[in-house]
């Protein structure tokens, strides 16, 4: 018996007025992989992630996470890292941790505390008192401290310095369990390609290619970054 894919899209379409964010998008992703959602700016990466997180409603088509349509049940197994800071900034870091603990049964408070301690973040401070970079780290720590089945990371390394980029990627690697899946949306391929098992190339809302990273390296003899540049050459 085959396991249900962690994410399955069937003819998924999302339109914004006359603009198509996603068009007839179909894919079934197996569990236990780190998958890169790669494409140029405005290609539909964030739209797909938001649909999976339940922040957008599809115009047509079906979307299943672990065999369930998106709803409260899928939200309890999906850990989502948005592009922006989504906390009530008047809360303290401790307060936000308590919030996660209250609402997400899979939140590992101890893991979060250890990571925050390593980063020397004072948990008694309010979010609004922290720098932009520190807020992003706190958000990443909380998202990765959940023992979720699926992590949706939207541009986790966009707009951060190289040292923070390394920290973010090592946090992702060291915190996800092998039976979980991670979908990382980014256009900074060279930074993430070493941690990816598979990738999806997406452009103008359509799935261009879904493949294994090793296949590209072995069969084409190219890095994923170089292959991406060739596929999306302007």
């Amino acid at each position: 018996m085959t396991e249900a894919p962690i994410l399955e899209c069937r003819g998924l379409t999302k339109t914004y007025g006359s603009h198509r964010g996603l068009e007839d998008f179909s894919v079934a992703l197996p569990a236990g992989r780190i998958i890169g959602l790669l494409g140029p700016n405005g290609s539909g990466k964030t739209t797909l992630i938001k649909l999976c997180a339940g922040l957008l409603r599809p115009t047509s088509g079906q979307l299943y996470i672990d065999g369930m349509p998106v709803g409260p049940d899928t939200k309890s197994i999906v850990s989502y890292l948005p592009e922006r800071i989504c906390f009530d900034v008047s809360m303290t870091v401790e307060g936000v941790m308590a919030y996660y603990k209250d609402f997400f049964a899979d939140f590992d408070e101890q893991r979060a505390k250890v990571m925050l301690e390593k980063l020397n973040i004072d948990t008694a401070r309010k979010i609004k008192e922290l720098s932009k970079g520190t807020r992003e780290k706190v958000q990443l720590v909380l998202v990765m401290s959940r023992r979720a089945k699926l992590y949706l990371l939207d541009e986790p390394i966009g707009g951060v310095d190289p040292a923070t980029r390394d920290y973010i990627l090592s946090t992702i690697i060291s915190n996800y369990s092998p039976d979980s899946s991670v979908i990382i949306s980014t256009h900074l391929i060279s930074d993430v390609e070493n941690i990816l098992d598979e990738f999806m190339f997406i452009n103008e809302g359509k799935l261009i290619l879904y493949n294994n990273c090793d296949n590209v390296r072995r069969e084409l003899g190219k890095s994923l970054d170089r292959f991406f540049r060739e596929v999306f050459r302007c």
Binding site: G54, L55, L56, P72, C86
Partner: protein
């Protein structure tokens, strides 16, 4: 989950409303003291220039405190709806709508917290107004008119008739239902405004608030007209003879009950529409 959501909503609103309330209380106390000072300054031998200057300063304090009491309730109103908007339609929505809860739970939690804080704000405003009124109507030399509540009761009792406290409770229930309906109207307006408009969501929400309010008023007028025609026909047919036995208190209870039911039904309809929009049309940009 509803209880947890309510806990965070109640605390979240309280983080702003409690300090604002304390400030309003402090300003009202200062205003009361100034009012007392103003009433007792004349007749003292401090000199006319000093008396004039002091009276002017005290008057400014009294006027400021009256304005502060009015501003306080407006601020509480703003805080309640700003939280709804921020939690649902700003960046915070990215966390709110990824919680493993239903949109109905999210909305009900906001509604309960908003109604409770609004009741608290109204009570505080009323107490502060009574305090200032009590100081202004105090007999010479006394700080407070201790009979203020008895005086007010005498003022209102002709309206409540023999029903007394019962009528006051009914009026309070009716007021709470009306406030709940008003809050639901604003929730619906913000939801439609934020869903429809790409830019200027707040302005769109304000526009939709007036549009929804007007629509509700029109429906109420139509309902009242229809009821009037039906009652007239029933009266002509002699079917309303039983109404002759109604006391004025009974009539008031009936009227307040009908108003409460009307606003209650309107609130539920608005909640259902808001929930439906959040469930089916949510698109956080």
């Amino acid at each position: 989950m509803l209880r947890k959501l309510f806990k965070y909503d109640f605390k979240g609103m309280g983080r702003l409303i409690v300090p604002i309330s304390l400030l309003a209380i402090a300003v009202a106390l200062a205003g009361s003291a100034a009012l007392f000072g103003m009433k007792n300054i004349s007749g003292t031998d401090i000199g006319s220039v000093t008396e004039f200057a002091l009276t002017a300063i005290l008057s400014i304090i009294v006027i400021t405190s009256v304005l502060a009491i009015v501003a306080y309730s407006v601020l509480c109103f703003v805080v309640i709806f700003a939280r709804f908007y921020k939690n649902f339609f700003s960046d915070e929505g990215y966390l709110t709508f990824t919680l493993p809860v239903t949109t109905r739970q999210l909305m009900l939690s906001k509604l309960f917290a908003s109604v409770l804080w609004w009741i608290a704000a109204v009570i505080i405003t009323a107490v502060l107004a009574v305090l200032m009124f009590s100081v202004s109507s105090a007999p010479a030399g006394a700080f407070l008119n201790v009979n203020i509540l008895t005086d007010m009761w005498k003022m209102f009792s002709p309206l409540t008739g023999e029903a007394g406290v019962g009528m006051l409770i009914m009026t309070a229930v009716c007021a709470v239902v009306q406030w709940t309906c008003m809050i639901c109207t604003v929730f619906l307006a913000i939801t439609i405004g934020s869903t429809v408009a790409r830019k200027g969501k707040v302005i769109a929400s304000v526009g939709f608030y007036f549009a929804i309010n007007s629509a509700v008023e029109i429906v109420f007028v139509i309902l009242a007209t229809v009821c009037g025609v039906v009652l007239e026909n029933l009266d002509a047919a002699g079917s309303l003879a039983w109404l002759d036995n109604w006391t004025p208190e009974g009539f008031m209870y009936g009227l307040l009950g009908t108003i409460a039911i009307l606003y209650g039904v309107t609130a539920v309809i608005q909640l259902v529409i808001t929930n439906s929009i959040l469930k089916k049309r949510l698109n956080l940009s």
